[in-house]
């Protein structure tokens, strides 16, 4: 039986670019280049490694996003994924993570999966809760934040590293896992991979295809509402302590004042 692996990926604004918000307080996609979230590259990499180890697996990469999100899919395909699913609908604009998880879950059910692999968080929203929400909606076990992952038969096994201890976790398939940036460096698309990606199938789905009511998602359907956004103030100039014999004491006083000591 072919192991069906689905990787959920996000198209995010380039973190090195000048990121802004649009008038409706959603991410401004016009002013900045987008790309495959760096943390999702780890998900794609682990999915590919599991597929290579299994010998009989198919990796589908899935995203929810605007037209340009196809670039993120293309990157994942050029890394080696077999096919892609692009959920794209104007009514999705402004969805929060609750709505996004509902859309992704429906799409996953439609595509079919044995294992869902996610990154640990997106590099823009950085919430990191989507994998758990997905597992709940799909009614399957979750093993999140793994720094090592593999599939043996119908069991997914992995290691979750905490501050004090490492846990070995496992779950029966079908299951949802998320992997950290410690799970293993993502590969760079090779020339062959890039050329092959052009010919790989990309399926487009909209809300109708998934049987989702437009009112349940998007800005209107969001459980949270963003009232205002403010850019982080630029770094202010630090305090310079000149050591004239009393430098140590002055430094300690400063740290105490800032409640560091």
């Amino acid at each position: 039986m072919t192991l069906r692996i689905a990787v959920c990926v996000k198209y995010v604004p380039d973190a090195t670019g000048d990121r802004r918000f649009a008038d409706d307080t959603t991410t401004d996609r016009e002013g900045v280049d987008g790309l495959l979230s760096e943390l999702d590259e780890y998900g794609v990499e682990q999915a590919l490694r599991i597929a290579e180890a299994s010998g009989d697996a198919e990796v589908t990469v899935l995203t929810v996003g605007p037209d340009d999100a196809k670039d993120a899919l293309r990157k994942a395909l050029s890394m080696g994924a077999d096919k892609a699913v692009h959920v794209n609908d104007d009514d999705i604009h402004g969805s929060d993570v609750i709505a996004t998880s509902a859309i992704v879950a429906k799409a996953l059910e439609q595509v079919g999966f044995d294992l869902v692999v996610c990154g640990m968080a997106s590099t823009d929203g950085t919430m990191g809760v989507l994998p758990a929400l997905l597992a709940e909606r799909l009614g399957v076990p979750q093993a999140t934040l793994l720094s090592e992952v593999g599939v043996e038969g119908t069991t997914v096994k992995g290691r979750r590293d905490g501050d004090a201890a490492s846990e070995q976790v496992e779950a029966q398939l079908p299951a949802v896992v998320s992997v950290t940036d410690q799970s293993g460096e993502a590969r760079y698309p090779s020339f062959k991979g890039i050329m092959a990606a052009k010919k790989k199938p990309v399926q487009s789905l909209d809300l109708d295809d998934l049987g989702i009511d437009a009112d349940a998602v998007g800005l209107a359907g969001a459980w949270t509402k963003v009232e205002t956004v403010t850019a982080r103030p630029p770094r202010s100039k630090g305090t310079i302590v000149t050591d004239e014999g009393e430098g140590g004491k002055q430094l300690a006083a400063f740290l105490a004042e800032q409640k560091f000591i």
Binding site: R74, S78, R187, Y188, P189, S190, F191, K192, I194, M195
Partner: protein, 383 residues
Amino acid sequence: MTQDFDLFRLSEEHEMLRESVRSLAEAKIAPFAAEVDEQGRFPQEALDALQGNDLHAVHVPEEYGGAGADALATVLVIEEVARVCASSSLIPAVNKLGSLPVQLSGSEELKAKYLGALARGEGMFSYCLSEPEAGSDAAGMKTRAVRDGDFWVLNGVKRWITNAGVSEYYTVMAVTDPELRSRGISAFVVEKADEGVSFGAPEKKLGIKGSPTREVYFDNVRIPADRMIGAEGTGFATAMKTLDHTRVTIAAQAIGIAQGALDYAKGYVKERKQFGKAIAEFQGVQFMLADMAMKLEAARQLTYAAAAKSQRTDGDLTFFGAAAKCFASDVAMEITTDAVQLLGGYGYTRDYPVERMMRDAKITQIYEGTNQVQRIVMARNLP
């Protein structure tokens, strides 16, 4: 105006390749560039990274197990590696230079064996044409190959061999009939492991210090007759045909080095404050940057056009290859020198990368034919 006008821009795949190589180069090659230069050591990290991602010899056709990249894609790989480390860019560049004679003129058996081994990462390929007394006048070479039954026996010295000692395979041009001068030269594949092959001390160079340049000695090197590339007496023609294509890769190297220097200088002038403002706000500095960017872009366009001609083997490739190499390398020398100027005293120190780029740029005006020779080639092949 339409967005879907596809002339004078790279395809989406080429842009993706550039992006992929750039991120690989910045993460895996750039961190070692200064150290590789300082210590004059081979950039093993770059070789590992390029081989690990199948970018070390992308030009090898798919039928021989390679990536099958076109000449423009090969140029992009070299350019992006050169942008962070010129020494490392000699890995993909010289792999093409060394193996192209086999690809252009070799027998099927030779291609399958050596192009396959190159693509699989079993060894790099170097090109042996120059000799101590035969540089620009390459046909004046003295290395001899003498037939002995089913073997050829090689004797002689080749000089300025890039990646010598590190490469496993060598395309060697040798005289098989001294009477016929250039028509009496044949090409052979020699392996590092062949008995009688040895190497001179590494040259102490101004730049590209991470790429070993050594003499290669052939002392009664006995190789099977089927290691001859193409027919007897066609070696010089193959060598020249090869250079038509690979001069474009030197141009790629030059624009990569220049881009690295321009990028660094561009960042620096915004940070460096004098007279109460960033020096980027002074018009004198702006004019310099504008000229640098303008010249670089002109060189890039010529290089990409030449790469397309290389891929199609157009009739005017000889002119374009020489023109791209000559123009891009002259421009790279100017741009890297100006980058050092923009950084002032800092640019002159080894704490900043632009002096390395300036030293590295110089070789692109010299190897694969000096720019004076390029002008001779161009004059003889005017469009």
